[in-house]
């Protein structure tokens, strides 16, 4: 009997989530629920200045008056925001040296393939590892310090660089921007902060791994990256989460500021727990990511989204300065009962602004995968250019692939081009591979990787390898 697609499906249906393990470290928690006292408690625990507490409280008050967005092509179950613990930190807070870190934690990181030691030695990547909410280890700090680069946990930045945090926090994503951003602003526990001084080219990829560990713990990171005039930074964000039965809410906010002539490259591999093959469990990933590009600056988003039960995410760029550039490269894979509504917004305000959007969606199983993108050319954005290519691939007849582009043009010198296709994986391509002796599952992974090539090639090398592996894992058992 030959090995058919159905066999493959059956074999892999029960494949366990690769990174589904939990770390047994005692954590310090505060009670469930959300009110002004909890917001104050979080702020107090983090020893925050008065202005930040006020900022949080304003966000909280605004959030109370808001309602969750309903426009996305998603079925989101009712979330009980009072049933969530808004702060958890590993009890041991400070590590003097790498040796002080618990062996369990090290082991966790090893399983994730991100052993700090190895990465430090082999790749030269500085890792800011976020375990639940508090940053436990930051490396390469001294080396970066020499160049004047600040790369630290958000809490540390609040203590040590309050003037920078105060100047830029909330300037790209205001507290009241949307329901989830407001929630994040009120309760964010930690995250990363990065500042690249004028004219400095950050010599290494900066990277942060996030991980949700504590059951029933929402994670609300806040990331702020400021690239001062003429600087460059490539920032990597990778997410893996352990297997959990209960849904977990993840509402992060990322703000990027690229000042004149600066460039920020922000890459994400998102692999939160997607739920089991029946759609039970999984992370709700409701993320607000936005950057602002000043004169001649460039912001490039690359994302490989394979995880989460529900993804609601639109990394966007405001092209404020003349000659600024925005890019968005995305691969979004959904399988089983995953749902994704993801895309970008390119807001052209300045003259000669350019944006490129390449989106590759792959839907399998019973999943729903939607691209939603806005290209807006404002009245004074002379000679704005946008090119959008948006492809969807369907694997199986029980899933959905959707394309919802919004094109708004108010300047006659603009050129906006949008192309989209939806189809299934090419049977002739599969047969061609088979005829050359390549097995079907391999053929599919080859074709899918080729299909995503334009996006994957934008990832830094070490990430691209992981991303390709993830694509394969995510689509296992979905051939049809």
């Amino acid at each position: 009997m030959a090995y058919t697609e159905d066999n493959l499906k059956e074999d892999l249906k029960n494949k366990e989530y690769e990174f589904g393990f939990t770390t047994n470290i005692e954590t310090e928690k505060i009670p469930k629920g959300l009110n002004e006292d909890i917001v104050k408690l979080i702020s107090k625990k983090k020893n925050e200045p008065e202005w930040l507490l006020e900022w949080r409280l304003n966000a909280f008050r605004a959030w109370q008056k808001m309602t969750p967005p309903k426009w996305a092509h998603l079925k989101i179950p009712e979330i009980d925001y009072q049933d969530i613990i808004y702060y958890a930190a590993p009890k041991t807070k400070k590590y003097e040296s790498w040796d002080d870190v618990e062996p369990e934690l090290k082991e966790t990181m090893e399983k994730l393939g991100i052993s700090l030691e190895e990465q430090q030695r082999l790749t030269g990547v500085a890792v800011d590892f976020v375990m639940d909410s508090v940053s436990v280890k930051t490396s390469f700090k001294e080396k970066l310090q020499e160049l004047g680069i600040i790369f630290c946990s958000f809490s540390e930045a609040v203590q040590e660089h309050p003037e920078l945090v105060k100047k830029y926090l909330g300037t790209v994503v205001p507290t009241t921007d949307n329901y989830f951003a407001a929630l994040n602003s009120a309760v964010f526990s930690d995250g990363s902060f990065c500042y690249i001084p004028k004219g400095v080219r950050c010599p290494m990829e900066l990277s942060t791994y996030f991980r949700i560990n504590e059951a029933n713990t929402g994670q609300f990171e806040r990331t702020l990256v400021v690239a001062d005039e003429g600087s460059y930074v490539s920032y990597l964000e990778g997410c893996t989460a352990p297997m959990r039965d209960e849904n977990q809410l993840h509402a992060a906010v990322v703000e990027l500021i690229a000042l004149d002539n600066a460039e920020i490259k922000y890459s994400t591999v998102q692999n939160w727990y997607p739920g089991d093959e029946e759609g039970k469990g999984g992370i709700y990933n409701f993320v607000t990511k936005r950057g602002i590009a000043h004169h001649n600056a460039k912001i490039s988003w690359t994302q490989v989204e394979t995880g989460s039960a529900i993804t609601w995410k639109y990394p966007s760029t405001i092209l404020k300065g003349d000659n600024s550039t925005g890019e968005f490269f995305s691969v979004a894979v959904t399988n089983n009962y995953q749902q994704a509504d993801t895309g970008t917004k390119m807001i052209h305000l300045g003259k000669n602004t350019k944006s490129t959007i390449i989106s590759k969606g792959i839907s399998a199983g019973f999943s729903q995968n939607a691209y939603r993108g806005l290209v807006q050319v404002h009245r004074n954005a002379h000679n704005a250019r946008n090119y959008t290519q948006c492809d969807s691939l369907l694997m199986g007849d029980k899933c959905g692939a959707h394309t919802f582009p919004y094109i708004e043009v108010k300047n006659k010198s603009a050129k906006v081009e949008h192309e989209a296709t939806t189809s299934k994986i090419g049977e002739d391509q599969i047969f061609y591979c088979l005829q050359r002796g390549i097995k079907e599952e391999k053929a599919i992974s080859l074709i899918v990787n080729g299909y995503c090539h334009e996006v994957l090639e934008n990832l830094p090398m070490e990430f691209a390898v992981e991303a390709k592996k993830l694509l394969e894992i995510s689509l296992e058992g979905s051939v049809g």
Binding site: P405, V409, A414, K415, K424
Partner: protein, 423 residues
């Protein structure tokens, strides 16, 4: 019946129409009941994101009279009419018998009447209009005061001309049409919405229900040229197997147009072509909304829209293709291109695909920008003045949409009008 708040824009309708008359007809009355619960659309509604109707609905309107009004007959002469085709003329919504004629007695072509619907067309009437959800559908079903019924029997081939002329300012005209193409029949409809010169501030809310039986064809060519008046035109089409619906929308020189072309392909092997040319100037606002719902396998649909926006005008294209689960082997295409001629014009395009079946080929392309610089240069290099070259390119651009029209006189007429409009 519940009462409305004083400032509800729906109250005007209730003031204009006799609730007593409406309550006599159960279909109208039911729609009225629905209407009480549907708010008028706002830009918060996804389908009305780029088009506001609030101002339109706040104007004061008058109903048509019962007599055929005098009108300047030269406006009829400008139209590409064919004397050998059955023709219905309405003036301010009132059927003008003297200008109309039926060339084939075997078809039904008559002004809309609730009575005839009850006798003969009950199983088709009001089956496609969505009075529960769509505000303007409910308004039309409750209050319609004009329109026609067209029934074409099996295997016949009919060409029909419908002319709606507006001669009164502030007219509120609500035509309701019912079109039935029986098995194997072919219908070609040319529909003209025009106004007598200087007439303004009329509002037309038309709703057509088109039922295409197996293997039938309907070509519907809509000519919309209404100066300073407003038109909301909703066409529901139900396609049974092997049927074809081909439409062209020529929408220009009108203060406000919102077209809803809503196709349900509920049989296998259907063909649907929805093409349109939009040209907006000054403060005009034209919104082309298309929804093609593929419910069955082996079907083809194509949308082709070209838009020119000048001055401070706004043009909207929102074309959507939905392919339902198990509706395999669908080929669905959308092409939309827009050109802005002014820095104060607005283009909004939203070409959408919502696909639930895997063995499909669906694509869309949308481009917004200026005229092709290279083509322009090429023409100029051959000695053509820039202005002339621009006009040539604009008219070629819009004329892309008319290739499929199966009526040479009509095609030539549209082409010529476009030529004049871009002067």
């Amino acid at each position: 019946m519940e009462t409305l708040e004083k400032n509800d824009i729906k109250s005007q309708f209730l003031d204009l129409f006799s609730t007593e008359d409406i309550s006599k007809n159960p279909v109208r009355y039911k729609a009225l009941e629905h209407l009480m619960h549907i708010p008028a659309p706002t830009t918060k509604d996804e389908f009305w994101r780029y088009t506001r109707v609030n101002k339109l609905l706040k104007k004061n309107y008058q109903l048509p009279g019962y007599e055929v009004a005098e009108f300047d007959q030269s406006i009829l002469k400008k139209l590409p009419l064919n004397n050998e085709e059955s023709t219905l003329v309405f003036v301010n919504g009132v059927f003008a018998k003297d200008y109309s004629k039926i060339v084939n007695a075997s078809i039904d072509l008559i002004p809309f009447s609730d009575a005839l619907v009850e006798q003969k067309y009950q199983s088709f009437y009001n089956k496609l209009a969505n009075n529960q959800k769509r505000f303007f559908d409910a308004v039309n079903t409750a209050f319609h005061n004009s329109g026609y019924i067209l029934g074409v029997p099996t295997l016949s081939n009919e060409k029909v001309q419908i002319i709606q002329i507006i001669t009164n300012d502030n007219l509120l005209l609500i035509p309701r049409n019912l079109i039935l193409a029986d098995t194997g029949a072919k219908i070609t409809i040319k529909e003209f919405f025009i106004n007598q010169s200087g007439v303004e501030n009329a509002l037309i809310n038309q709703l057509s229900e088109i039922v295409l039986m197996p293997n039938s064809t309907c070509n519907y060519y809509k000519y919309q040229n209404l100066s300073n008046n407003a038109l909301i035109d909703t066409t529901h089409i139900l396609q049974n197997q092997d049927s074809a619906y081909n439409t062209h929308l020529a929408s220009y020189n009108t203060a406000f147009i919102r077209n809803n072309t809503l196709v349900q392909s509920s049989g296998e092997n259907t063909t649907t072509t929805v093409n349109g040319a939009t040209l907006t100037k000054e403060n005009e606002h034209i919104d082309q909304h298309i929804f093609i719902d593929h419910q069955q396998p082996n079907c083809y649909s194509n949308q082709l829209f070209r838009t020119i926006a000048d001055d401070k005008s706004t043009a909207v294209f929102n074309g959507k293709v939905m392919v339902r689960q198990d509706a395999q082997k669908i080929n669905a295409f959308q092409s939309n291109a827009n050109i802005l001629l002014s820095d104060f014009a607005n283009i909004y395009a939203k070409p959408e695909l919502e696909i639930y079946a895997d063995d499909v080929k669906c694509s869309h392309g949308s481009s917004t920008g200026q005229l092709d610089e290279e083509a322009l240069f090429y023409l100029r290099a051959r000695g053509i003045k820039e202005k002339t070259a621009q006009k040539m390119l604009i008219s070629a651009f819009l004329n892309d949409t008319i290739d499929n029209i199966e009526d040479d006189t009509y095609t030539a007429f549209i082409s010529q009008e476009i030529e004049q409009l871009i002067q």
